[in-house]
């Protein structure tokens, strides 16, 4: 009985992983990040507002531009000085003309103001049936929390965050450190992620597709690198993805912080992938240059002999799960301390260590 249960579990796990893999492979285009994330190619009703206002205003602006530059060019061509003693009529002004070019722009502005308020009204209230996603900005990644299922993902380990197309989605945006700005141009305008506040931005009538997102408020060193994709799929596909993610998350057993814990044998190639996926590259270079933390160049040679009590493997193990135990001279301990408690399982940690030991 007990054995059967384990087989079923293993089968379900395999199926879920397969589903998730196929889904991502099919739905995420080959390019990691979609071509220009422009609101002029809207993926939602909210983003379509941009075009609805932009094109008419551009038309008005073009008319004004042509008129004013035309007048300027007319003046330049028509009134160039032909004789040295030209003395034009000394006109000091014209109240009627001046009144006209005060009133007409004022009227244009009044029309624009009305147009703006009308469109703004549509945005104001988040639909009550919207699916909530809590988005938290961190230096320098986004964390997505789906409260309905308790799923938590972050943009260091995946760049793909799924939403369903059958109902509006409300992103409740906040920050854990400095101010960021959550922006998926094809879904809606940006919303600042401010520590201590929650701002909501929503998207309805979402079309299936991949929508690139990014940080739009300068937030420090790797501000440019907070990229992610929102992938809008049918509710059925969304449910499959969600079940797979929830299942994978439930299968996850963090390795913990005990450096005596036995590890399986590691696979350096998976470790290399993890080094990128877990965001290690953000702070540790491979070429000897110093980013936030020490470079990993030559780690294979250096890990041995760092400590008299620890072997190379144990030293690396400790440095990942308890990064503040031993800090290399000239650096502060700013590394997240949750790699052992939340982010890596025993296999992943073993893979990472195996990879680091290959770095000459």
């Amino acid at each position: 009985m007990k054995k059967d249960h384990r087989v079923v579990l293993r089968l379900r796990r395999a199926a879920a992983v397969l589903f998730a893999t196929v889904l991502v492979a099919v739905l995420v285009p080959l390019q990691a990040f979609a071509a220009p994330p422009t609101p002029l190619r809207p993926g939602s009703g909210n983003a379509a507002v941009f075009g609805a206002l932009f094109w008419p205003i551009l038309a008005i602006a073009t008319v004004v531009f042509v008129l004013v530059e035309g007048l300027l060019i007319f003046a330049i061509v028509r009134y160039r000085r032909r004789y040295d003693d030209d003395t034009p009529v000394q006109v000091h002004g014209n109240n009627t003309l001046e009144l006209i070019w005060t009133i007409i722009p004022a009227l244009i502005m009044a029309v624009l103001f009305a147009m703006t308020l009308v469109e703004l009204q549509k945005e104001r209230n988040t639909p009550p049936d919207a699916m909530r996603i809590e988005v938290t900005g961190h230096q320098w990644y986004w964390e997505f929390y789906y409260p309905e299922t308790g799923l938590k993902l972050d943009s260091r380990t995946t760049t793909s965050f799924f939403i369903p197309t059958d109902r509006p989605v409300a992103f409740e945006v906040t920050s854990k450190d400095v101010i960021h700005s959550f922006w998926v141009p094809q879904l809606n305008g940006k919303m600042d992620a401010i520590p201590g506040r929650v701002n909501t931005v929503w998207a309805g009538d979402v079309k299936p597709g991949t929508y690139a997102g990014q940080c739009a408020e300068f937030c420090g060193l790797r501000h440019y690198n907070m990229l992610f994709n929102i992938i809008a799929v049918t509710p059925e596909d969304f449910d499959v993805w969600m079940q797979a993610q929830v299942f994978l998350a439930s299968q996850f057993r963090p390795v913990g912080t005990d450096i005596e814990a036995p590890l399986p044998s590691g696979e350096a190639t998976s470790g290399e992938a993890l080094f990128v996926a877990q965001g290690c590259v953000a702070c540790h270079s491979l070429d000897g240059s110093t980013l936030v933390g020490p470079s990993m160049q030559g780690m294979a040679g250096r890990a041995e002999g760092r400590s008299t009590e620890l072997s190379a493997e144990q030293y690396l193990h400790q440095s990942i799960v308890l990064p503040c135990e031993y800090v290399v001279d000239g650096f502060a301990c700013v590394m997240p301390q949750n790699f052992g408690t939340e982010k890596l399982d025993a296999q992943a940690l073993a893979d990472l260590i195996a990879y680091l030991e290959t770095l000459e």
Partner: protein, 548 residues
Amino acid sequence: MAATTYPGSAVTRRASLVDWLTTVDHKKIGIMYVILAFLFFAAGGTLALLIRWELALPGQQLLDADQYNKVFSMHGTTMIFLFVIPMLVGLGNYFVPLQIGARDMAFPRLNALSLWMTVGGGILLYSSWLVPGGAAAIGWTGYAPLTSTTFSPSSSVDLWAIGLIVLGSASTAGAVNFIVTTLNMRAPGMTMWRLPLFTWSVLVTAFMVLLATPMLSGALAMQLADRNLGTQFFVPESGDPVLWQHLFWFYSHPAVYIMVVPAMGVISEILPVFSRKPIFGYSAIVWSSIAIGVLGFTTWAHHMFTTGLSPLLESFFILSTMIIAVPTGVKMFNWIFTMIGGSLKFDTPLLFSIGFLSMFLIGGLSGVFQAVLPLDRQLHDTYWVVAHFHYVIFGGTVFGLVAGAYYWLPKMFGFKLGEGLGKIHFWLMFIGFNLTFFPMHILGLLGMPRRYFDYPAERGWTEYNLAATIGAFIILLAFLVFLVNVIMSAIRREPAGDDPWEGNTLEWATTSPPPVHNFDRIPVVSSLRPVRDARLRLAGEPVEDELH
């Protein structure tokens, strides 16, 4: 000719270094401001070229992310606080007393203090490159809580804040000086409604500086207290990081007009002279400057449309931002109608003035898009905004300043600048400027955020970035031509004469350069264009009654 009416006396003694360091003469102080501003323009321009070099193509080119963030932060800070504002103060210092027929500023010692505090503020800001960790990487906006000791432990942020407080205090003192000078030191007959438009623009600007700058200084002092004394003004939960943005923009939006209005004043001086016509609608220009000065204080939160303002505040700031476009539009038409019906002589100052009109127009129009909140939510903090404010500050103010340089350098140094090289300078700058900044509108529409060290090739932003980088180096070439022109003209020393352009205002009624006391006899003014009147009288032509 005019000098025979208001004779001046030539400078006979060469000034020594000690003279320059201890001077309280508004003209020497003005020249030192201009030189200081140009030095920092070279520094800020170098930083701009580093930014463009880095962004030319995807991937790392020249800098790393940390260096890049420092470079763009110091580029903005330098250009605003150490180039544009000191340059305008320099021209104001030199020409306001001359234009109103005064012998100096009202408080010459305070004037010298402002100059040397500006030098000190610049040194403080730039010394931040020397502290461990290098200059502050916080943008020119220094948003909390990125500026807290948690996220920016380096003391460069303290130097940045102290430097800006020193610069701001210098500006505030200078503003008092300009206001008192303009109100109290005018020559007999120089009523407020005969005040030259450049002087009017400096007066309006001085009031804005006086009311806005202390707000910035206060906010910076709070930031310093948060960093060093454990206060929590801008700390999340116990304080409010958004409060910083309110205080910062309460200064920094008026600061945009502080940077633009005097350049508008320069244009309002040049257009009538080179059109041989009075300015079209003098009082409309004055009132629109005053309107901009007042309304400039009502629009600050349009920089904060993405922070989650209340609906009422959103509507208010949309409306106020749209209203301020009206007086700006009024000026535009008044300038063009000054040229229409005139007799235009296309010397370099007029070319740059036309550059101002055509480029500032684009900056004004793109600003209207940003007033429309649903558009701003998309355009905010993208390259669209970078394009917009460079069309205003570079296309507007810098073209205006260069126009002013070609117009007034002959008065300041007594020799003419080469016209041929001046025209090459203009065309290179006009082409380079548009090639640099026009594609940025498209980059913004394509979703490229500003302050990005790097971008993936797949985003489709590469071509526009490359174009912008090429344009930036054409601008560099333009300013090298300017430098060569100034040096060659200084060597050639072709005398400018007292009044090389057939000017209207009193600075042309004295020698080039003017004597220490400006005028041997204080002129008496009876119209808007006293020097033109004197010229006509001397030629025996009738002088028509002017409106004011």
